[in-house]
């Protein structure tokens, strides 16, 4: 028996909007500790990892670990039927083949039940080691989204370079080139507008803008975004979800030199 009651139902709607274009089908894993998902996009270049901790729910009951395969497009369609202020409850029976989303209006005068069929998904899990990153950049999420969008009008890829005094985004294409530098900036009055750089080592990596632009669909979830980078490792783009969890996107870099050894 599974019953998860999320007062801020709009969060779930936003999460789905953020990932449904990247991943079509995914397994949601429920355990005592929380509601999570890990899935790769079809080309195996990007990965999304979602975690909603159990303590973030008003009511959280999960008798045994449950993995529910869902088609995210369909799930998103159903969640679209919930009002922005609605309380969303996710319900499922152990071993059942469907999941129910219940939407309650804040005034409790309207209750809707949406039942969705589950599917069997043969997903591949990646073990992601906890690593210490060479550089971590925290910046306003809207700013990051803006830069990615702007640069993609010029080129397909972006080079993100972190140095002591700032983070530089550069691209070039047929029509020309562009550089955007964001300097470290500690604003006293508004933490959300800060750009903070923690760096042990300068890092410079190249990524496909197409994916970054897809990640920035999560901008509505949080005012800030964190980019964690290490040499020759996928970047982690993380959005915190209001006190209850996070959504992390991993993106494999472009490898510049020809001397790769692995098949």
């Amino acid at each position: 028996m599974l019953e998860l009651r999320l007062v801020q139902g709009s969060l779930l709607k936003k999460v789905l909007d953020a990932i449904k274009d990247l991943v079509t089908d995914a397994n949601f894993d429920c355990s005592e500790s929380g509601f999570s998902l890990q899935a790769m996009d079809s080309s195996h270049v990007a990965l999304v990892a979602l975690l909603l901790r159990s303590d973030g729910f008003e009511h959280y009951r999960c008798d045994r670990n449950l993995s529910m395969g869902m088609n995210l497009t369909n799930m998103s369609k159903m969640l679209k039927c919930a009002g922005n202020d609605d309380i969303i409850t996710i319900k499922a029976d152990d071993g059942g083949d469907s999941v129910t989303f219940m939407f309650e209006s804040p005034s409790q005068d309207k209750v809707s039940d949406f039942e969705m069929k589950l599917m069997d998904i043969d997903s591949e899990h990646l073990g992601i080691p906890e690593t210490e990153y060479h550089a971590i950049v925290k910046m306003p999420s809207a700013e990051f989204a803006r830069i990615c969008r702007d640069l993609s009008t010029i080129g397909d890829t972006v080079v993100i370079s972190v140095s002591k005094d700032g983070v530089k985004f550069s691209t070039s294409g047929d029509i020309g080139s562009a550089n955007v530098v964001c300097r470290q900036n500690n604003s006293v009055d508004n933490k959300d507008n800060e750009t903070v750089i923690e760096m042990n080592e300068p890092v410079s990596l190249t990524f496909a803008l197409r994916y970054l632009n897809s990640f920035t669909k999560a901008t509505t979830l949080s005012n800030t975004v964190t980019l964690s980078m290490s040499k020759e490792l996928p970047v982690v783009v993380e959005y915190k979800i209001a006190e209850i969890g996070h959504i992390r996107f991993y993106l494999a870099p472009k490898i510049e030199d020809e001397e790769e050894t692995q098949a």
């Binding site: 990646l126 073990g127 996928p234 490898i255 510049e256 020809e258």
Partner: protein, 395 residues
Amino acid sequence: MGIKGLTKLLADNAPSCMKETKFEGYFGRKIAIDASMSIYQFLIVVGRTGSDMLTNEAGDVTSHLQGMFTRTIRILEAGIKPVYVFDGKPPDLKKEELAKRYARRDDAAQGLVEAVEAGDQVDIEKFSKRTVKVTKQHNEDCRKLLRLMGVPVVEAPSEAEAECAALCKADKVFAVASEDMDSLTFGSPVFLRHLMEPVARKLPVMEFSTAKVLEGLELTMDQFIDMCILCGCDYCDSIKGIGPQSALKLIRQHGSLEQILENLNKSKYQIPENWNYKEARRLFKEPLVTPAEEMPELKWVAPDEEGLKKFLVDENGFNLERISKGIEKIKSAKNKSSQGRLESFFQLSAAPKRKEPDTKETPAQKKAKGKAAEKAKGKPGAKPGPKAGGRTKMK
């Protein structure tokens, strides 16, 4: 060509071993391709109207070059890194099969002459397709073209299929692309079908996994090879009246070809004379291939623009503009193949649901052992068994 009826057998009995995938999903992957088979296909389909084919000024056929050039560009554009493997000397056992093919080609040539006389367009096309033969010159042309395009070429000591599988086993390439189901029998871990199909046919790529084939059929690799021989392969005759379904059933029941021969109802099934299944099995199990440590490093380099123009435009009468465009495409494709894949950074851990492959004895083996013990005494050695065995030893 290939193993008779294997695709259908797998679809029915081990559906999880194949999955439809997208052509674009293989970017950044190194893939070995059987060159001879591709060239043969190009000669059949590319630029053909009736019995006329694309030719240069001297009248030499250039369909293979056209096909190789455009198809390879398409692969490169998807970010895939192709390796073309050329056939070496065919194994002795295949000569019989090849002789049959020559005979068929001669028949077709005969038919073509008749069709031309009768002026029947449909027949002319049909027969002229059947007369297609890949010559040394065709192979040589394609090798030259590929080198100019910056694509690596591997010379197989014997069968290209086997060499492709060996490359894959040695982790030099991610998969083998072929239309020939032999690749599975050679034990290529990952095998792709329809990768080389023209875009127009819109066939999805089929990815086969040998491990899952064995899991699905509940056979060991040795048993799978025996089953393929029973189904009918290029190396020896098969037993009349035994199709793929019964081949699978027999192998599951008896465990090996030796056991099957011993138990088979000889009055019902005619076993070919001098049936050389042991040698065929050896060719599948230990084919002549380049040892893993001697395999050359595969390198993809920038195309030789001047060389390509000289070879294709000046020597073979291709359109300069089209070739220039093609070269541009090759250059820009370089960019795409540089995209990393997550699997190369993070370890793939099997999803919690998936079962561990069964390492225990399969039911077939158990049964085979039991039956063997039972029948070993009563029956005298089956006729073709020892004969075939004897011949193998002599070699």
